[in-house]
């Protein structure tokens, strides 16, 4: 560890709110670096792992391997997991501060950024967060029942989540059948008529937020062919040489896909492809349109932009032109957003994060934060890992320096458990989760899936208690 406290005298008790990658990586680092620290992880759902379970795409199972690391942490003798506990409702942050020497808030971003245009509430318009939650079995998204009976879908946003959604919409069913995608989602996709997906962004090819692995997956997606607008790539080839390596490789792949004459083999493959996908650049949504007299999305009105400046800082500027794109499904993928869960916790509603310096919450002694709540909702698991290690290090520095007073004993989970009992809240332990895990895995075996997810909190609790 970067900071190790050998032979500590104190017995700090730390509470972590949120059991996704941020929570678990913070816990891991604390446990390794301080030989007496007790870490209690609280989670609102009965099941742990946050976006690793509910965000990572079903066809990316390797990314979910990190669950093994988190499981090891959860089973550490000085770590305890308390699922089914809603911090902010079942117990307050003030009460947690009474019980623990320090709190680390790592509950992520459960809201989404709104596009802010008329028609956003029309049936047929969904946030990517909800759509992804739906196919990944997030209980609060199971009633979504997206209508997939149209041919064209428009995705607003060009990050990796947008590409995940496009890929799940267009993947051959055979590929999805062997993943942990939910059964209802699989059935809905089997009936889907969506065969053309446009992925729309305000700026140009050199500003896409997605990364090369996900782009390559689209380019190589069986049964599909790309459809791009060549003019969108004017000037891009010339700019390549000055780009940093990651951006350069990504842009090269896009250019190749959009402009290069495909090989004979690829031409054959494209001719046979029945599904189409493509980026549309320099377009901002200004209205989501309905057919007159019909309360459903029928299209998107897009304003045409031009770029001022270049590189990451380029700005999209309206030209005054608009164009209408007919479609029956709109998915907005322009970012997640953290929400405040407790009035006593400082919250910057402009940036939608908890204001902090290196994980130390401003004007709140004993409060820390890690993950998306700390830095905003971007970054892969590796990014969150580094951010969490950083927060753990800040906390440990404060223990060492005395800034965080751990000299007097605190009641920790004893106090919180009795509060919860009085309030009729029964936490789910990690071994309770393992019963759920076991059942999901066994159910999955029946259909050749890694697991068949349990889709409601009530059903999860039944298995946990059983």
């Amino acid at each position: 560890p970067w900071l190790l406290i050998p032979f500590p005298r104190s017995h700090p008790k730390v509470c972590i709110v949120g059991s996704g990658p941020a929570g678990f990586y913070t816990a891991q680092h604390l446990l390794k670096a301080h030989q007496n620290v007790q870490v209690d992880v609280y989670e609102r759902l009965p099941v742990p792992f946050g976006l690793v379970r509910f965000g990572v795409a079903p066809d990316h199972p390797e990314v979910k391997n990190v669950i093994n690391t988190f499981t090891q942490t959860a089973k550490h003798p000085r770590c305890s997991f308390y699922g089914n506990v809603n911090v902010g409702e079942d117990v307050s942050v003030d009460e947690l501060q009474e019980a623990y020497h320090a709190i680390v808030l790592s509950y992520g971003a459960e809201g989404n950024r709104s596009v802010g245009v008329p028609g956003e509430d029309l049936p047929g318009v969904y946030s990517a967060k909800d759509f992804v939650g739906w196919y990944n079995g997030l209980p609060s998204c199971q009633e979504l029942r997206p209508d997939l009976s149209c041919e064209t879908a428009v995705i607003l946003g060009q990050g990796n989540v947008a590409l995940d959604v496009a890929r799940i919409l267009l993947s051959p069913l055979d590929a999805l059948k062997k993943t942990d995608i939910t059964q209802p989602a699989l059935e809905a996709l089997a009936q889907s008529r969506v065969c053309r997906v446009l992925i729309v962004g305000r700026r140009g090819p050199m500003q896409v937020a997605s990364t090369i692995k996900e782009l390559r997956e689209m380019v190589n997606l069986p049964g599909t062919r790309p459809e791009m607008v060549a003019a969108d790539f004017d000037g891009v080839a010339e700019a390549l040489k000055d780009l940093p390596r990651p951006r350069k490789r990504l842009t090269e792949l896009m250019l190749k896909t959009a402009l290069e004459m495909p090989t004979e083999k690829e031409q054959e493959r494209r001719k046979k492809a029945s599904r189409i996908w493509g980026f549309r650049f320099f377009r901002s949504p200004v209205e989501i349109l309905a057919e007159p007299g019909c309360n459903r999305v029928a299209g998107v009105r897009l304003a045409v932009n031009k770029l001022e400046g270049s590189g990451e800082k380029a700005q999209a500027v309206l030209t005054g032109e608009v164009e209408d794109v007919p479609c029956g499904l709109v998915i907005s993928s322009i970012g997640y957003r953290s929400l405040p869960i407790d009035p006593t916790v400082p919250f910057d509603s402009r940036r939608a994060i908890v204001p902090n310096s290196m994980g130390r919450v401003h004007n709140a002694a004993g409060l820390y934060c890690s993950g998306w709540l700390k830095t905003g909702p971007t970054g892969v698991i590796a990014t969150t890992m580094n951010s969490s290690f950083d927060t753990a290090r800040s906390l440990l520095e404060d223990v060492e320096s005395g800034k965080l007073d751990v000299s007097s004993a605190k009641p920790g989970s004893h106090m919180i458990s009795s509060l919860l009992e009085k309030r009729g809240v029964k936490p789910v332990t990690f071994s309770d989760w393992e019963k759920i895990d076991d059942l999901e895995t066994r159910r999955g075996e029946v259909s050749g899936k890694p697991r068949e997810k349990i889709l409601t909190v009530a059903a999860m609790l039944k298995v946990a208690r059983g």
């Binding site: 390797e62 391997n65 997605s210 692995k213 892969v380 990014t383």
Partner: protein
């Protein structure tokens, strides 16, 4: 004296942490289904996908580096994030990420060597960098996501020891505290 004793204790404690719950999913014997331990079997299901997507190079690595054969030994130096040099003895065929874990080096492998993350990012000593086989496209794609990418960056889970890598030095990138101050460029997700 006290400092080195503390350092030895800390490595011991770190190792102990790693060994509290044996992590079968990280062991090549388990992955090759050569493990006969009963306790490993119930977990096999959950690692099935990681086995299937495992790079084939891992199948040649062995778990036990206690061989006495000096011809097999490949000396590796890990340089951790605080700059400390940690020399270890590996063997031909060892996967460098698993070797690091065996010696308590703080190198994460979140995706367990399936080229789905960049947490095992290391810098390779100049003298040995060119001796490594070219990265496959998938490794380059994941390296693109790693902070502080350099010319000599590689993913440790893709490095398999051979005799000509003797003396190789692998430096763990210092992810600086300044990485997350205001004004940092948001990363994609």
């Amino acid at each position: 004296m006290a400092a080195s004793a503390a350092a030895r204790t800390s490595i011991g404690l770190t190792l102990r942490f790693h060994r509290v719950i044996p992590d079968c999913s990280k062991c090549p014997l388990y992955r090759l289904k050569s493990c006969t331990s009963n306790r490993a079997n119930p977990q096999r299901r959950s690692s099935f996908n990681s086995f299937r997507t495992m790079n084939r190079h891992l199948q040649t690595s062995k778990c036990n580096s206690n061989s006495e054969d000096p011809d097999d030994v490949v000396n590796v130096v890990f340089i951790d994030r605080s700059g400390k040099r940690i020399p270890v003895k590996g063997k031909t065929g060892d996967n460098v990420l698993f070797l690091a874990h065996k010696h308590g080096i703080e190198l994460e492998g979140a995706c367990e060597a399936s080229l789905a993350c960049s947490t095992c990012h290391v810098y390779v000593s100049a003298a040995h960098f060119d001796k490594l086989p070219e990265p496959e496209e998938r490794e380059d794609d994941m390296l693109d996501m790693a902070p502080m990418l350099q010319e000599n960056s590689r993913l440790a889970c893709q490095i398999v020891l051979t005799p000509d890598l003797d003396g190789i030095e692998l430096t763990l990138p210092k992810v600086t505290r300044n990485f997350y101050v205001d004004g940092h460029v948001p990363k994609p997700h």
